[in-house]
Symmetry: C2
Subunit: 345 residues, 2 copies
DNA sequence: TTGTACGCGTTATCAT
DNA sequence: ATGATAACGCGTACAA
């Protein structure tokens, strides 16, 4: 019940605290075989467990890093987290995960708390609204890596995907299939990822000489998407394809499609930025843009690890490519009625 | 860049460390207005941040609790975690999450590490294989709450659901719909939840006077389920209904159903223990058994909190009821061809 | 009302 | 090879 300390072990083994400390830190070079054994036995007998808190106080390092994730509900986030944890397991680090729930205040609270707790470094999915904090950390040389979203800061380490390029490619594929009215459904454009994806959409449309109708750009919180789509479908010519900005948008869009009784692959095609675990269960063709979460998480962890150990990795920004994944590629005829043959223009 | 300590603040403000400490702990009772202001300014000027590590060492409490989850991939787990985090936010605690990945060794590693890190208590989804460790913690009076699964330990706090009763009810519903050959698909029966669910299945079958054919009890790791079902469907009379032991089993079972081209609600009915976020997107009728994750998480956090503060909550075991949720209740005729009218026996 | 001095459990630096 | 002692940054009697 009582905490047993190094001093207890030392007394039990008939040696001094420092010798016990040496033992624990595996500095056996000058240690006699039998003192070693005596200490071992004392530890065993007393059930001694070292106190990390005390060690951290002395060493000024906690062997803990923190992951501050903007929203843990994204499947992509958990993929990154798992990769970081794997890295940590192999490098004698421990990761603690905090969920900002898309709220900048929470993010700020966590960052401040974690620095007070002396975590050795952080990997942050920035909400985007705490630039002053981000900047301060970078300026002070505190180890930090930004993931998924860009901060616009100089000399900040970041790991992101090619949002614009991947989206552009996917939209071009839709256009190639004959789609001309493509709605772009996205959460409020506060963060770099969403802006990048929109940019890719714009580029694809413009490259194809298609108009970018602002009405087809549905910028809305997740819980309002259905009604926004409802009005879009009521007031305008219906889009023949939809782009969902991430996995949570996808759920909302799917609910809309289901309630509306639309048939995917016939009345409407769908592209989703993000992969999801149940993609294979979908009964209809959908295109998912998959980001390499595992590689990204690993790279972020590596970058942080190097900084913690005093390194200055180069380069500072890593951009990973995404790839398209087809769920249930359509087997039927090439051009359902709602599309325009791109050759027949 | 340099860490600024209480001593620096004291010097800057021209007072002593203890006065600064009083200030930080809001013991203003006997403090002069102007010393107070001077300290405030000094803190501001130096950008002082208290060091939690040092505080923890002194106070023997870290204000951190740990959640050790058997497998974070379960949707149910994340629901519980979120509820615990909410509670912590309101009680000046911080929760750190560790994923044992269903591996008892990992669980053991985490538990030992976290105790060394002096976390104030733990909420554990036990893998089931570390009884000695669990028992030791309970015996030492270390604050701990077990969630989801039972340990079989006396005087251990636990929060679980009525696995047997809920399963029994769901199976009875299937039987009431005319099903007689119901396959029970579950991961290896190492933990109490799975055993409880099987017990509920058995009871429902026996109560209805139906045979419990061991071939219909498919006990298998997730990644082997498909082939196990394959052989079952090849060698025996096909089951007309399936029970999936949890959400991951559900994914595997659905893949099987899809590959096999079976039509849910017609050729086969499905009951799943666990709810999932995309239940509403399913195109076919499925019954989900939903556990009250939020309430369970909250209760677990409360039980832990009370223990940390020296309380001995009563009772020790909390059993929460689950409820059935229908996705896409069938609108069509009551008795498709593959079922037997229960009245016509 | 404020300051002094010690303890928390460990590691680091010297001695021995 | 091992031991004595001083940090680490904070909280807290107790003294002033």
């Amino acid at each position: 019940m009582k905490k047993v300390t190094m001093a207890d072990v030392a007394k039990e083994a008939g040696v001094s605290k420092s010798t016990v400390s040496q033992f624990l830190n595996k500095r056996f070079e000058y240690m006699g075989e039998n003192t070693k054994k005596r200490i071992e036995e004392a530890i065993e007998k007393l059930g001694y467990q070292p106190n990390f808190i005390a060690r951290s106080l002395k060493q000024k390092r906690t062997s803990m890093i923190a992951i501050i994730v903007a929203n843990i509900l994204h499947y992509f986030s958990t993929g990154i987290i798992r990769a970081i944890e794997d890295f940590c397991r192999d490098h004698d680090l421990h990761a603690i995960v905090c969920n900002a729930d898309d709220q900048p205040d929470q993010e700020r609270r966590y960052i401040e708390m974690l620095r007070a707790k002396q975590v050795d470094g952080m990997i942050i999915f920035p909400t985007g609204k705490n630039r002053d904090l981000y900047e301060q950390m970078v300026r002070e040389g505190y180890p930090v890596v930004f993931v998924d979203r860009q901060t616009g800061l100089d000399h900040a380490y970041s790991v992101v995907t090619d949002n614009a390029a991947a989206t552009c490619q996917a939209i071009k594929q839709l256009i190639g299939q004959g789609h001309q009215r493509i709605a772009f459904v996205v959460q409020p454009l506060m963060v770099s990822t969403r802006k990048g994806r929109l940019e890719g959409y714009r580029k694809a449309m413009e490259d194809a000489g298609l108009p970018v109708d602002p009405d087809y750009i549905v910028e809305s919180p997740v819980d309002e998407v259905k009604s926004r789509l409802e009005s879009l479908f009521a007031s305008k010519e219906r889009p023949t394809a939809l782009f969902a900005g991430n996995d949570r948008m996808f759920l909302a869009v799917m609910e809309f499609i289901k309630e509306k009784g639309l048939v995917l692959g016939e009345e409407v095609d769908l592209v989703v930025f993000d992969n999801i675990p149940f993609a294979r269960l979908m009964d209809h063709p959908i295109t998912f843009i998959e980001q390499p979460a595992a590689e990204m998480g690993r790279k972020a962890a590596e970058l942080l690890f190097e900084q913690i150990n005093g390194g200055k990795p180069e380069p500072e920004e890593y951009v990973f490519p995404s790839r398209m994944v087809q769920a249930n590629p359509p087997a039927g005829p090439a051009l359902p009625g709602n599309r325009v043959d791109p050759e027949r223009k």
